[in-house]
Symmetry: C2
Subunit: 276 residues, 2 copies
């Protein structure tokens, strides 16, 4: 089974993309909604919570776990990978989106939108700049295009999306305000650095216009995971394929099912509540 | 010292009212912002978090603790009062506002606005109806006015206020949508059942018009606390009066100081971060 861990519902937008690529694979999802959002917590706390979540998924039969949460990926991924070594496989979000943005950007003007926690931490920016040293080597056509990163936190989008206000004029107005500065920076690529934002992808696309490529971080992660399994057949073969999905949450299961269905793009039936 | 516990900054609007009535009393405040908002969390989770916060305030020298958070008052007050008995005193929000609304309503059409958690739990409504049996007795002038309660959850107001979007047109538009139904019910009294809402009190007043009395729940709580101390001189005497204020938060202290100052109506200097 493929395990997916997130701090809340948002990671279900990543599961939606995984299902498109792996429709028959069995999947387990845990959303730690009772302790969400992770964005404002200390690194130690995020490591502790992520480890608890990941170990729960392994105990339920996951053969590998994807972290859908950007904060968990930033703070806990390296720790967990070092801890588990080859024994248990954990893959993160963040870097797949960064790599896709660097591949697709025309002029190197990359925008990042996310929660306040994500933007203040600045990890997308750090990863882009770290990688750009290698990608934009002198032999490349893009040699002169050392990327510039423009970040914008959009703290009201998560509550608006969770309220289902996706198509309301107020949401469009607020989104427009958030994107004003990014538009004036002429970014050509925009990373949607929050698993909630794919629900507003059409609105983002309208506001940013045709010349800006949107990077859906969950989609990028699912795509990179496909490439990973292609390279690691020994792992791919351990993943069962009976088309089952199991959902776990640390908070109210009814609300998880209701809201989560929007992110997953299909109805969620049974949700089990667990406690840490 | 008087301890005040809230899930975030909001309770500082209650502290503002407390300071008006008790300018010399020493006060301790804890805002559990890292785990806010409580409104969407399960009852068990709210009880656990509230207990941790309240016990922290007692450990720091509080002689009694006021819960400024409606969700915490609804879900955890009775549990804590039963647990502590006469040993440690904890008082809640909610009932003071209910009593004031029942005293002031002309026609018994009472509206309640709050977070989703507060409204779904329906505790304002339950408390109003429970009390109305006594208040609206046959000998009273209001004998025919068994109150009707109209509730409306306004989940986006907290994030909008916390983003400082108080005067933005989007906030006015969203508030208008939320109040549409209440206006059509001809309510004459509206309980602002969330400690954030006093920051939008003028907007609420404009939208509801002159014939609707607004009840600021923090103000009502401070007033009832004054009456409580008048009746319990043995407790009143244990409360030190050196005019000190101490602020604690589980999240970023800088953000707490910046945002909190708006709720308190005066600048907050030193804020200490704690972790659970």
């Amino acid at each position: 089974m493929i395990g997916v861990f997130d701090s809340g519902f948002g990671g279900l937008s990543t599961v939606k993309e995984l299902i498109k690529l792996f429709p028959q694979h069995d999947m387990l999802y845990l959303g730690d909604s009772a302790r969400a959002p992770y964005g404002n917590r200390s690194t130690e706390t995020v490591i502790k919570y992520t480890q608890e979540g990941v170990e729960f998924l392994f105990s339920k039969g996951a053969k590998m776990v994807l972290l859908a949460c950007n904060t968990a990926s930033t703070d806990a991924l390296r720790f967990l990978q070092q801890k588990y070594g080859n024994e248990k496989k954990v893959l993160g979000a963040l870097i797949p989106a960064v790599e896709e943005a660097l591949e697709k950007t025309k002029y190197g003007n990359i925008g990042v939108v996310g929660t306040r926690g994500t933007i203040v931490a600045g990890n997308f920016e750090k990863e882009i700049l770290k990688r750009s040293v290698f990608l934009y080597h002198p032999a490349s056509k893009k040699a002169q295009k050392i990327p510039k990163v423009f970040s914008q936190s959009c703290p009201l989008l998560v509550p608006l999306i969770e309220e289902g206000w996706i198509k309301k004029p107020e949401t469009r107005m607020i989104l427009k305000k958030y994107l004003l500065k990014l538009k004036s920076c002429h970014i050509d690529t925009l990373i949607l650095g929050c698993t909630h934002y794919p629900l507003l992808e059409k609105e983002f696309a309208k506001k940013m216009g045709k010349n800006c490529i949107l990077i859906n971080s969950g989609k990028a992660q699912a795509q990179k995971f496909k490439e990973y399994l292609h390279l690691h057949q020994e792992i791919a073969q351990t993943l069962s394929q009976n088309g089952t999905r199991q959902f776990f949450t640390t908070d109210c299961p009814e609300r998880f099912a209701e809201l989560g269905s929007q992110f997953l793009g299909q109805k969620i039936g049974d949700v089990q509540k667990i406690e840490f």
